[in-house]
């Protein structure tokens, strides 16, 4: 692939937004992708506090069932003298799951980093559709408001589990307006996801700077791009399911309501909802992990000071996972009476998907192997991600295999497994990304020492909490039991669960400290340099910290991949171990004025 001045001139003509003049235009109704990214960070953190608080209530119930919750109980649970009742408990775990997935991880991982990083890392001035981008945030905020509203309507918040299975989620099981509001909110947030995803997909296709070939993109961008494709294709399926469920609830249609036996072919089918839900739901777990994989691929290379091992292999692996993610959803339905032939096929694909996942894992290890590792705080978090994701991956094998899943289905094993991957790995990568891009986002540094402390205490506690859940699941603890200890065969789990709860409370306390340090650093942290990590991607080498409104004064011209570290020739010529994606090196590259590059 060649490169010439004409293309550079054309890309240079991308529109430049005028700098915003009023407060509202700058911070609220902004079309600047960097500010929208920060909006998603603040919004996501707010809901993270709510979702995390609900998790603490679940842990309280399993540690001290029927005992009044301190402080919170007096505030919100006055009617039951501060105790958690069974219906309240259902609402708590339902909202914990939904809020964490749609209003905490999604905005933090995809909304924040997708918005902030994609244009900066591919050398664009903004997203392809800036106005749609702004709408995406505000539609998401609207859905968040619907969730908050669902807590105060008569008959209480949604309580049918995060999966919202009918018939429990129909008017028969959950007659309140809270459930309808929640299903509506899921639909609305889906619309926001599609708006954002569409924007990311098109931006990467159309707005890469001259010379930024597909195989020179940072792997973070690859991860976010593949995630966006899955978002755009599979969130509408959830939208469809939600729409039909709402019709069932509001207008009396009978899509998911099983009729009496006499109805024959005319009866609706609750299992249909499960199909639609998991056709979305399984790609969704990869939607939440692909950006994490991409960032880990980049971070290990950045901080091991080595080129990412088998860059193209990582790209192929992530692409393969994205494709396969569409054909494995049935492993969530092994116990629904699915035909054994279908079940076995889904099992096969599920186990095949671990092959590209392993490839990625090995690429990370190979990248670090014999590297000169700089153990910065983003690198610490990255190692933490690799650890918890590895544990989560291994415990997933038993769920992908039909024969073992039949016993582990719906136990705490499942909960521990997906919290190690979707929750621990995703949130740790959010912390890694924040530690890494914080200087670029806010122009200030997060304290390094605290970063290490926060990282390793969080990793240790996450491991203890979710491995504890895996153990209790193996002992038969069903995931949604209000009071597990009313069953004699689970009575002996009380001490274990109580310890896990203590670890969980400690985990929450540490996140509280993190929040304080985060907010303090935003306003009063040490001023950041332009490129504190000495890496070669565009946002560090071509932009100030924080970047100007228009990102780049001149659109950069890219001459090499994102991870060129420890190259002997670079060290000889430039005297450092890294070279930026835009820096020409030596005579052959300088001959054409830096605009033309050797083939990619």
């Amino acid at each position: 692939m060649g490169l010439d001045l004409a293309e550079v001139l054309v890309m240079e003509l991308q529109p430049i937004h005028a700098p915003p003049t009023s407060f509202a235009k700058k911070y609220l109704f902004t079309i600047d992708h960097k500010v929208i990214g920060k909006q998603f960070i603040w919004g996501g953190f707010l809901f993270l506090v709510l979702g995390g608080g609900l998790a603490m209530l679940i842990r309280w119930q399993w540690a001290f069932p029927h005992e009044p919750v301190p402080v919170v109980g007096d505030m919100f649970l006055g009617a039951t003298q501060g105790r958690i009742g069974p219906a309240t408990y259902n609402s708590i775990f339902t909202n914990h799951g939904l809020i964490m997935i749609f209003w905490a991880i999604t905005p933090l991982l995809i909304g924040a980093f997708g918005n902030f990083c994609i244009p900066l890392m591919i050398g664009a001035r903004d997203m392809a559709f800036p106005l749609l981008n702004m709408l995406s945030f505000w539609v998401w905020a609207l859905s968040g408001a619907m969730v908050l509203a669902s807590f105060v309507v008569p008959l209480g918040a949604a309580g049918a589990g995060w999966t919202t299975y009918p018939p429990l989620s129909t008017n028969v099981g959950m007659p309140g307006a809270g459930q309808s509001l929640m299903v509506g909110a899921i639909f609305v947030t889906g619309v926001a996801s599609i708006m954002g995803g569409l924007n990311y997909v098109v931006t990467v296709i159309r707005y890469r700077a001259p010379g930024m070939t597909w195989m020179r993109m940072p792997l973070t961008v690859w991860g976010l791009w593949l995630t966006s494709i899955l978002n755009v294709l599979f969130v509408p399926v959830l939208g469809s399911a939600g729409l039909l469920l709402l019709l069932d609830r509001m207008t009396g249609t009978q899509f998911f309501i099983a009729g009496s036996t006499g109805m024959g072919a005319n009866a609706g089918d609750p299992i249909l909802f499960q199909h639609l839900f998991w056709i979305f739901g399984h790609p969704e777990v990869y939607i939440l992990i692909l950006p994490a994989w991409g960032m880990v691929c980049d971070f290990v290379a950045f901080f091991a000071r080595k080129p990412a091992y088998w860059y193209k292999g990582s790209v192929y692996a992530m692409t393969a996972v994205s494709v396969l993610s569409a054909v494995v959803y049935g492993h969530h339905m092994f116990t629904t009476g699915i035909s054994p032939l279908l079940g076995t096929s889904f099992m096969l694909f599920t186990l095949i998907i671990s092959v590209p996942a392993e490839m990625l894992f090995l690429n990370w290890l190979h990248t670090m192997w014999k590297g000169s590792i700089r153990l910065t705080s983003p690198m610490s978090y990255t190692l933490g991600v690799i650890w918890v994701f590895g544990l989560g991956g291994l415990t997933g094998l038993h769920l992908g295999t039909t024969s073992t899943d039949l016993y582990l289905h719906d136990t705490m094993w499942v909960v521990g497994h997906f919290h190690l991957t979707m929750a621990s790995a995703s949130f740790l990568v959010v912390f890694a990304g924040i530690a890494f891009w914080f200087p670029k986002m806010f122009g200030r540094m997060l304290p390094e020492k605290f970063g290490h402390f926060h990282c390793w205490s969080t990793v240790a506690l996450l491991t203890l909490v979710f491995v504890g859940q895996i153990i209790s699941g193996y002992a038969g603890h069903h995931r949604r039991l209000f009071d597990p200890y009313q069953y004699t065969f689970l009575e002996h789990l009380l001490p274990l669960n109580r310890w896990v709860s203590y670890f969980a409370f400690a985990l929450a306390a540490i996140q509280g400290v993190y929040a304080v340090v985060f907010i303090r650093s935003v306003f009063a942290g040490k001023k950041a340099e332009q490129n504190p990590w000495e890496v070669g991607t565009l946002e560090w080498t071509e932009c100030t910290s924080p970047p100007a409104v228009h990102n780049f004064d001149t659109i950069p011209v890219i001459v090499r991949g994102p991870h060129e570290y420890a190259h002997p020739e670079v060290r000889r010529v430039l005297g450092r171990d890294w070279i930026s994606q835009t820096e020409p090196l030596g005579d052959s590259e300088q001959a054409t004025g830096g605009a033309a590059a050797a083939g990619g």
């Binding site: 010439d4 995803g197 098109v202 159309r206 509408p236 729409l243 249609t253 024959g264």
Partner: protein, 210 residues
Amino acid sequence: MSSLSNPPAGDDPNWVAPVVQYDSPAKRQETTAWVGMVIFLASWGMMFGALFFMYGGIRARATEWPPEGLPAIPLFWPTINTIVIALSSVTLQWALISIRKGHRRKLTHGLVSTFLLGLAFVALQWKVWIDLNEIGLMHTSGFYGSVFYGMTWIHAAHVAVGIIALGWLCIQAVRLFYSAPRHLSIRLWTMYWHFVGIVWGIMFLTVYIL
């Protein structure tokens, strides 16, 4: 990027490709919007795809259809309606082709006819709903009724969005807003309208006829 933009091997390094072979910024933005529309329609196609999947799931194991005691959906008016929506796609495509050639009057005619045909479609759909209500098929009549009404409601909502957009396009066309080089919204809404028409075609085939 075409291979033309690369200097011939061994040629002098100061060779510069002609700028003309790249799209102008306006043209580039138009292509970007087109890519966006394609991806949006793929996305929304999945939404409708899920509806058909849901319907197919029940139909595949049904032993009799329509279920006992429920009327078959009459085909006369829906067939007329299929012709109406197909015609509206033709008129809209004609409008698009006209404005590409710079014929503003034909554009206006095409848009207004499409708008009217769209309204006719919704009116006929309304009639079909009322007729079916009278012969006893309600949206609460089990899965059969739910599928028929649910899917046609959702489709009609999309037609309604298209009609509102077409109304706006008509107004803009009368104001002579569009010209041969500048008619992006016509192009994008034409794609949307064809999409809605294709979904209707599939629905007519699977929900009405089969």
